[in-house]
């Protein structure tokens, strides 16, 4: 039996979310100004300027942000820059390649320390 369309709509609940990461908090990012308005203004002005079209296009910047979001594993940022990349016309392949760039740098960053391990091992062993 079909469910009425209103079953699929979600209405306000009196219960608070019990998780650390609530998707609804993303749209409240601007609220950080409540505790410190001056620094928040400086940050958001700077943030806005960073993402303007410049030597890099807005789409390129969005894809860089998407890759960084994965590197720092920020769920808010991943949501924001997945939407942002789609809006700016990026396609699925470009977005996944950006994630692989993040993965390659993260993986590489671990592996390149292997040289330090090798150096130390050689120092300590006969």
């Amino acid at each position: 039996m079909k469910q009425p369309i209103f079953i699929h709509l979600k209405f306000k609940s009196k219960f608070m979310s019990k998780t650390y990461y609530d998707p609804a908090d993303l749209s409240k990012f601007g609220d950080i100004k409540e505790f410190q308005p001056e620094l928040a203004k400086k940050f958001f002005d700077y943030y806005g300027d960073v993402f303007k079209e410049g030597a890099l296009t807005a789409r390129e910047k969005s894809l860089i942000a998407l890759a960084v979001s994965h590197a720092i594993q920020c769920p808010y940022c991943i949501d924001a820059y997945t939407s942002g990349s789609l809006e700016k016309g990026a396609d699925e392949e470009q977005m996944m390649e950006a994630v692989h760039v993040a993965a390659a740098i993260r993986g590489g960053a671990s592996l390149v320390h292997g040289v330090q391990m090798m150096n130390k091992t050689k120092d300590l062993t006969m």
Binding site: I5, F6, K10, A24, S27, A58, E87, K88, D91
Partner: protein
């Protein structure tokens, strides 16, 4: 996500009913947010009631019949829809245009070309010297041999062709418009290019419409146009004039998609957050009047699908009175946020 490929009406879906759509749209207390009414937003910028600036464009919806069943269609058009404009109503449109300074007639649907009186209507409009625009879905040109000469017909009457192509690759285009649509669209674009459409120096205008293939807003029209120009030329040797970036309005099948994919709240929040007063000043309903297949008048094609008739003594094309219509208050609802988000959205793309 996969959705049915029949119209909402064929599936007897609740959202086939305009009043159910309006009930969904006017539910402003959602799980995480309370949406302000669109009217209140306009009041805050002293733009309420929203008034016409002078009607310049008559947009004629020639029917809901279409060879495609796009997942985001606000008309709920498709091969299973039989409602089309009669020649009697078209004659009333021609009569209404006489003695007005309306410069442009914008033909839409469904696939307007499927109306058996489409060519007759274009010829009559052409005799009147009107600028004619047709919202051509491209694949209709290849759908049947009787449509193969449409590019030549459009050329003869200098019809401006406006065609949807949501992406410059098959995956996204086909996901929204149906399997194989991208390939056929490219073939149709080449046929239009061959007769001179979209070519540099040609007076034959071919504009493309980009609309997002999901629950997100369109990016910068200029950047998208540059990307489309490059990709279509390099990949397919296709040329066009301009790209119009259009926001999907939460009506009919796009509303169905939003609700079914649990994106409705997030999408409405995006639209409200992106409300732009400058875009609100330039919304297309201020200079356009929309005629339904049955001759009733609406502020726009979206209000037409929501069955929100014009708030005027003149309600039907047979009693068209431009002065009366120019004095009306435009009917508003929450879907109007779609036209005022970001750089705004109209049938001609961004408005600011």
């Amino acid at each position: 996500m996969a959705l049915a490929t029949k119209s909402l009406q064929f599936r007897a879906h609740e959202l086939a009913n305009a009043s159910t759509q309006l009930k969904v749209l006017s539910t402003n207390e959602l799980e995480n947010i309370s949406l302000p009414t669109f009217s209140d937003k306009l009041k805050a910028i002293n733009l309420y009631p929203l008034l016409p600036t002078g009607i310049q464009i008559l947009q004629v919806n020639m029917g809901k019949m279409c060879n495609q069943t796009c997942k985001h269609c606000h008309v709920d058009a498709g091969p299973d829809r039989k409602e089309i404009m009669s020649r009697v109503t078209m004659k009333q449109c021609l009569e209404a245009l006489k003695g007005t300074d309306i410069t442009t007639v914008d033909l839409t649907g469904g696939a307007p070309e499927m109306n058996p009186d489409f060519r007759w209507f274009v010829e009559e409009l052409s005799k009147m010297g009107k600028k004619i625009m047709v919202r051509c879905n491209l694949t209709i040109i290849l759908a049947n041999p009787k449509y193969n000469d449409l590019p030549q017909f459009f050329k003869k009457h200098k019809v401006e062709v406006i065609s949807s192509l949501p992406y410059f690759a098959a995956r996204r285009t086909d996901a929204q418009r149906g399997e194989g649509v991208f390939e056929k669209s490219v073939k149709a674009l080449k046929m239009l290019n061959e007769v001179g459409y979209g070519k540099e120096g040609s007076e034959l205008i071919l504009n493309l419409v980009y609309n997002p293939t999901g629950a997100f807003l369109p990016g910068s029209q200029n950047e998208l146009e540059a990307e489309f120009t490059k990709k279509l030329k390099e990949g397919f040797d296709v040329e066009f004039n301009s790209l119009f970036a259009i926001t999907n309005i939460p009506v009919s099948r796009f509303l169905e998609y939003l609700v079914a994919s649990d994106n409705y709240e997030g999408y409405m929040e995006k639209l409200v957050d992106a409300f732009n007063p400058s875009a609100a000043m330039g919304v297309m309903c201020r200079d356009t009047i929309s005629v339904g297949w049955d001759g009733y008048l609406y502020d726009c094609d979206f209000n037409q699908m929501l069955e929100l008739k014009v708030n005027s003594k003149t309600k039907h094309i047979s009693e068209f009175n431009l002065d009366e219509l120019n004095k009306r208050n435009i009917e508003l609802n929450q879907h109007c946020y779609g036209c005022t988000a970001g750089a705004g959205s109209s049938c001609g793309g961004e408005v600011v």
